[in-house]
Amino acid sequence: MTALTHLQRLEAESIHILREVVAETDKPVMLYSVGKDSAVMLHLARKAFFPAPPPFPLLHVDTTWKFRAMYEMRERMAKESGMELLVHQNPEAKARGINPFDHGPLHTDMWKTEGLKQALDLHGFDAAFGGARRDEEKSRAKERIFSFRSANHRWDPKNQRPELWKLYNARKHKGETIRVFPISNWTELDIWQYIHLEQIPIVPLYMAAPRPTVWRDGLLLMVDDERFPLRPGEQPVMRSVRFRTLGCYPLTGAVESTASTLTEVIQETLLTTTSERQGRAIDHDQAASMEKKKQEGYF
């Protein structure tokens, strides 16, 4: 008898979920954010449908402010997976020049929240895979794997369908869409172990290297391109840093580290004493901020 390991059980569950959505929805799409969770989700999708390519496109809701290394990885993975890559940039945000330096929370709202709604409406997708994990944040811990959104993309946390066994109810009314989280039950450590075990390509930014950085408002920010406006007295300094999560480069704090290989990163992650979202500005706004954002349609 072979007892399955925890990673084998998680993998089998995720593949089951991916296939269930393809079997029961009309037009699914995978939200691809280029981060490590997206990398694992994409890898699972390739496993789930092999030898066919995953029967849905990848969608990147782009803010134009991602790290350059992320854009390179995005193109590479689209090519390798044989999947269609859709990139959506909110035209209104673009026209108004919304950026993380001048517009604060409006940046996330316009590019990500509104951009996502636009892209889903534009293409008529009725189900969107997302790489959120329940261990990331408290409101995620209570969200279902199949999470319904009204025609206005709103989430109603008090009116979620019970999910029993491995039975997912994908029936929906016209106009409703589903966000599906196939890696809900994975933890950050599971993700790292799986990347290690399966040798899944990830953006090099997760590994430490000398990078130009400045300290600002408690975050160690990387000066990734010339759009980064330096304040008086600020001078980019080369520091050995890596990132625990990846988002818009002006909003994503690095950690000082010398962990330049995957195993060293895992080692450091295991020994760390702060949670991974700590490097992100979005969660700090106020208590339960993520829950509010989710109700408004943030993924």
Binding site: M1, A3, T5, H6, P51, Q160, L164, N169, T187, Q267
Partner: protein, 644 residues
């Protein structure tokens, strides 16, 4: 306040620091335990889970800082850390101070990874506990040592047992508040033991703990030297899992998706429910019963020689057998049963109560069918386990029912196979998941006949069609426009999704009534037969339209009296004789006037116009289309009244 001890037995950190490769190798081979915690509102569940997370070092410094701040602001433990705040996620709950939904938490030790379903103890949330329990290997039942076994303890134990959890831990919490009193503890354990035995729980593991102070949570408590068992965490780490049991059962694979990237490849994807499969194995496709042989087990990393329960796989077969989503692949010589009528336990999860007779969607494995639930045999009082008579099931009610699916499904009893025995019911209108159920056994044919005679009432037929049966009785002179208008009405009803049937001279006179002529006696018999047929059709739930001259009031009254009050809708198509005769579509008036037709209504036989028809259509004032619209509106208004 004792701050949590950090000197737990976990030496992981040393290994991580010294030899990360060895650590990763060790951790890739960890097993997974999913468990639920259940207890009453104030039993300290969230505190215990928070403590487990904290003690297994799953709480980071930034979270701890937030926790300390939150504890002072909204905590219920004074200046001490309120561990419950770690797990009470949603903003609304923070204000109420209770958890209101199922939340999943994660932690790991050197030996295992754990997924905890935190399920509320609040009375109206039984459905959440059943949800959390459905994926759990083990249940931790919490008891407040000061209160002992409560009604809710019984309910949670019953539910855990019902859903098939074999590993039960009885955590007697808040031992610090009863001065770690051994006698009181043992009395509680004995009390629980006799209750547990009465509902079929043969074994459970009692542990005296204090979630608040940490006694017997991760480390053995010095306050209770008399306790010789394992601390809770160690028990969770070492308790034997039932992981191999599913693998030793016969092979079952519910087919999820068929992969056809090109003409040469046809793969059957799914998660193996039970058993093992190897290439070359003889398999059977259910429900068709066709057999084939496993050709390949395909993965991205190369083909496998065999696969086992729990794995998501893609199989190819040697022959071009028909097989699609919803079918089940099984070992050839020991297939599961196929049936369409079952005895089942239902846990009702919706505010809207069960409507016996109404069809729901049923999802069982990858099968999706329409199902009718019949009136419960009984409801279980989850507090006393008594069987109560019940006509329906409301939110959180549990009952035993008979189910009939609209086509045969592949199944196994829930006890033998959760994937082929556990199901959900979905409301066809709201799309909500309204119930979870567990199939016990198929009902035999003899029982079916007996049961059908008793249970499929005319209400059940109508309920299935989402309509109230009616008989729309069109009466009027020959050539008045009865059939024309009745036809238009039926088209509109059909477009509205109503189930209807039109009886008129054309389809009745040529068959059922071809032995009848046009004497007064035959006219009466004609109407009687039409009335009886229409009545059967309304019993079947249909909206029946009849278009007959039906000249005599008494016969129309006779038919009206056959039906329940309100179902007979008399519609007088009122056309003046002169106008009908002028139209003379079928040339009958001309023949009658010429004496070639005897007993023709209006010429040499009377027409008794209705005195109080439900609807009167004056064809001089309305076109047939307007008349039809008017009648449909009247009908919809009646439906609305009936629903109100």
């Amino acid at each position: 306040m004792n701050q949590p001890t950090k000197d737990s037995s976990y030496r992981a950190h040393d290994l991580i620091a010294e030899d990360i490769d060895a650590y990763l190798h060790q951790h890739q081979h960890k097993s997974l335990l999913r468990f639920i915690t259940c207890g009453s509102v104030d039993d300290g569940k969230s505190t215990l889970i928070g403590r487990l997370l904290y003690d297994s070092k799953m709480i980071f410094e930034d979270q701890l800082a937030a926790l300390e701040a939150d504890s002072k602001r909204v905590g219920t433990q004074g200046q001490n850390i309120d561990f419950a705040l770690l797990v009470d996620g949603l903003a609304a709950e923070r204000e109420q101070g209770i958890t209101i939904d199922v939340a999943y938490r994660f932690f790991a030790t050197d030996r295992r990874k754990f997924i905890v379903a935190d399920t509320p103890g609040h009375e109206q949330y039984t459905r959440n506990m059943v949800t959390g329990a459905s994926t759990a290997d083990l249940a931790v039942i919490l008891i407040d040592a000061r209160k002992g076994v409560l009604t809710q303890t019984r309910r949670h134990s019953y539910l855990a047992h019902l859903i098939g959890i074999r590993n039960i831990v009885l955590a007697v919490n808040k031992m610090d508040l009863i001065e770690y009193d051994r006698e009181k503890y043992e009395a509680i354990v004995a009390d629980y033991g006799s209750f547990a035995a009465s509902i079929g729980i043969t074994a459970f593991t009692p542990i005296p703990i204090s979630g608040f102070l940490g006694d017997n949570v991760t480390t053995r408590s010095e306050n209770m030297p008399w306790y010789t068992g394992l601390p809770l965490m160690e028990h969770l780490e070492t308790v034997e899992l039932d992981v191999t049991a599913d693998q030793s059962k016969p092979f079952r694979l519910p087919v999820q998706w068929v992969c056809r990237p090109n003409l040469d490849f046809r793969g059957f994807a799914g998660q193996i429910a039970t058993g093992r499969v190897r290439t070359g194995d003889a398999v059977r496709v259910l429900p068709s019963g066709r057999t084939s042989t496993v050709a390949r087990i395909v993965t991205l990393d190369g083909d496998l020689a065999e696969a086992c329960a729990g794995q998501s796989v893609m199989l190819t077969l040697d022959d071009e057998v028909d097989c699609s989503r919803g079918d089940v692949l099984s070992v050839a010589n020991d297939p599961p049963e196929v049936a369409n009528q079952f005895e089942s336990t239902l846990v009702w999860m919706s505010d809207e109560e069960l409507r016996p007779g109404r069809p729901y969607w049923m999802k069982i494995g990858t099968q999706f069918v329409s199902v009718q639930v019949h009136a419960p045999k009984y409801q279980v009082n989850v507090n006393t386990m008594e069987h109560l008579a019940a006509k329906t099931l409301g939110l959180n009610a549990i009952g035993v029912v008979t189910l009939t699916t609209d086509k045969p499904i592949v199944f196994e009893p829930y006890d033998a196979n959760r994937d082929l025995g556990g199901f959900i019911l979905i409301d066809k209108f709201t799309n909500g998941t309204v119930a979870a159920g567990m199939l016990h056994f198929a009902l035999r044919r003899s029982q079916n006949v007996h049961w059908q005679a008793l249970e499929i009432t005319r209400d059940a037929h109508a309920e299935q069609k989402h309509q109230r049966p009616r008989l729309l009785w069109f009466t009027g002179l020959s050539g008045a426009g009865k059939s024309t208008i009745a036809n238009l009405v039926e088209k509109r009803l059909h477009a509205l999704g109503k189930h209807s049937f039109l009886l008129d001279g054309d389809n009745v006179r040529h068959g059922l009534n071809k032995d009848l002529g046009f004497t007064d006696a035959d006219r009466v018999e004609n109407i009687r037969r039409v009335g009886e047929v229409a009545k059967l059709m309304t019993d079947a739930g249909l909206i029946v339209l009849t278009a007959f001259i039906s000249p005599f009031r008494a016969e129309r009254q006779m038919v009206r009296d056959m039906l329940p009050p309100g179902e007979f809708v008399e519609i007088h198509i009122d056309t003046a004789l002169a106008e009908a005769e002028r139209r003379d579509v079928k040339g009958l008036y001309r023949k009658a006037r010429a004496g070639q037709l005897k007993n023709f209504t209006g010429i040499d036989s009377p027409y008794e116009a209705p005195e109080h028809p439900e609807i009167r259509i004056d064809t001089a004032q309305m076109s047939p289309e307007q008349a039809a619209e008017h009648i449909v509106e009247h009908l919809l208004a009646l439906e609305a009244q009936g629903a109100a």
